[in-house]
Symmetry: C2
Amino acid sequence: MNHMVQFQSPRLDAAFAALSHATRRGILERLGRTDASITELAGRFDMTLTGMKKHIAILEEAGFVVTRKAGRVRTCALGPRGLEHEAAWIERYRQLWQARFDALDTLVADLQQTPSTPSRPTRK
Amino acid sequence: MNHMVQFQSPRLDAAFAALSHATRRGILERLGRTDASITELAGRFDMTLTGMKKHIAILEEAGFVVTRKAGRVRTCALGPRGLEHEAAWIERYRQLWQARFDALDTLVADLQQTPSTPSRPTRK
DNA sequence: CATACAATGAACCACATGGTTCAGTTTCAG
DNA sequence: CTGAAACTGAACCATGTGGTTCATTGTATG
């Protein structure tokens, strides 16, 4: 009945939501250099430990970060998941976008080429 | 004082936030096929006109969608902005991720190659 | 003209987010 | 043993989000 493409994806939801906050993108940037503790990150981004912990939890939930606790310090690192999934989604849409505007260009070109045609895009 | 890289970007904030909701991704998918009115979209995604209007507003704010009103119907279409900006950001991070894990691989390889290293990767 | 139809704005609601403080718990250092 | 450091959890707060209903405004159309 309906050929609804699968657009539901809690995974993508969480991933994009995680990336939608500047501080969190900053954390990824920081962890790209070296691993870091909660205290270290909280210091760099000027917020409380508790606040930073929440951001880390969100990034961990999205799969971007993994943590392990050694002694009393929890160390945060980039997770193995990477951004392949999100990159793939975006790439698909970039192509869709492209196709859409290519079609428009073709239409415009056709109209200009045969200004007397009623309303058919008439592909050659 | 601090060499904080620019990670602030209201634009990316809005873009990723817009993409973080399944319905909104679905709308983009739908508009990739053809333009559509608010009523049409509201029908397809089973919500009120007002609700759909809000999603469209968010997508428009993020620059993904443009609308124009002809008579009493507002038509929504994919915007010219595309996803280049977001794709670029993600690509940068994919590379960062890659580099990070390549470094890990190298480290592991080194450790395996010279099992007599001072710092003990293998105990006993 | 009368009426229906598309969209809009305002107001409301439950719940999530992004932060805080405060009160613990473990763990480390002396 | 004492105390500080690092984290954690609970509770709180302001604001934003995702939806609704209801009333209104334009715009077609019979």
